[in-house]
Symmetry: C2
Subunit: 199 residues, 2 copies
Amino acid sequence: MPKQVNHEERKRLIAEATWRTISQVGIEQASVRTIAKEAGLSLGALRYYFTTQDELLRFSMDLVQERVQARITTIFEKGGTPEETLCDVLLEVLPYAPEHQLEMQVWFQFMMSAYTSQATENPDDIYHMVQVLLTQIPDGTLRAGLDIELESERLAALVDGLAFHALFRPERLPKERLRHVLVHHLNALFVRPLAIDDK
Amino acid sequence: MPKQVNHEERKRLIAEATWRTISQVGIEQASVRTIAKEAGLSLGALRYYFTTQDELLRFSMDLVQERVQARITTIFEKGGTPEETLCDVLLEVLPYAPEHQLEMQVWFQFMMSAYTSQATENPDDIYHMVQVLLTQIPDGTLRAGLDIELESERLAALVDGLAFHALFRPERLPKERLRHVLVHHLNALFVRPLAIDDK
């Protein structure tokens, strides 16, 4: 079904144009008209795929989440130790590469916009993800006696805080530094600590 | 000089109207006209104090920082132990009370807007504040052998991450919970740990 594939491809291109537009002018100014121009489409052509701005923003945000999820799935499939997997998965939600910076910026803009508009969004994603990761990690990986709820709250805050700071100061927080901070933090939880300069 | 006092008071009221406007419609939509309406002033009366939107936003942001700074100064003047002081100061930059939520929301909006407009802002404030706090804490408070740069990066990320999460989930992160997470984290750095349910 080549036609359907084309539609999906075009929606993806529109979503990416939406990211660039949000990055350039902010989410409040990212009108359907501006996005159509950035995507090189007529307003009518864009409206064929997305009838409202909300629908377009929602699709663009979902694509951010899908991409992060795809990278995380790849890490799980690689099948490292539980310690390496946890570290690599958390690193994957941090903006350590230019394309992740755009994702992260769009994500923060969307979150703040959702806050302003009092919409019911999913700001717990990182918290719940961390909670699931720590709960489902194989027995004997984490030190005995840890308060998993408390450690989830702390680790989720660390990850989002690092993401926020790396967005503004990529030169202070390149991938190696982000990994260093993360491994240092996780090693206090692990029975078998990871090497700091593991990779 | 009662006249001057009135001017200062009016500028403060305008700044507070700016916060409410940003909170309601987002920083991109916070026009001078909308803010004047929120402040109950004519556009001309507002322009007497602030000729440009940038000037107005900058003053409003400075007022956020001044208020946080004033609360921090009060904590230092109280003269608790170094451990209590550090914990209380960090708690003061978290949005645990409704008026702090407004400050924090305006702060995040301003940061994201500064990012979009490629302006040179000061997103290192928390990082540098934490770094100064950990560097200047009396000898013997922190465990020997800590990497202060690394711990500053980690603590700054934790604080901003908690602030961001508390903004969206105040019911999950009331003041007691924020304090619990913070004390748990700091106790790994302190020679003499704080009680978790200290206050």
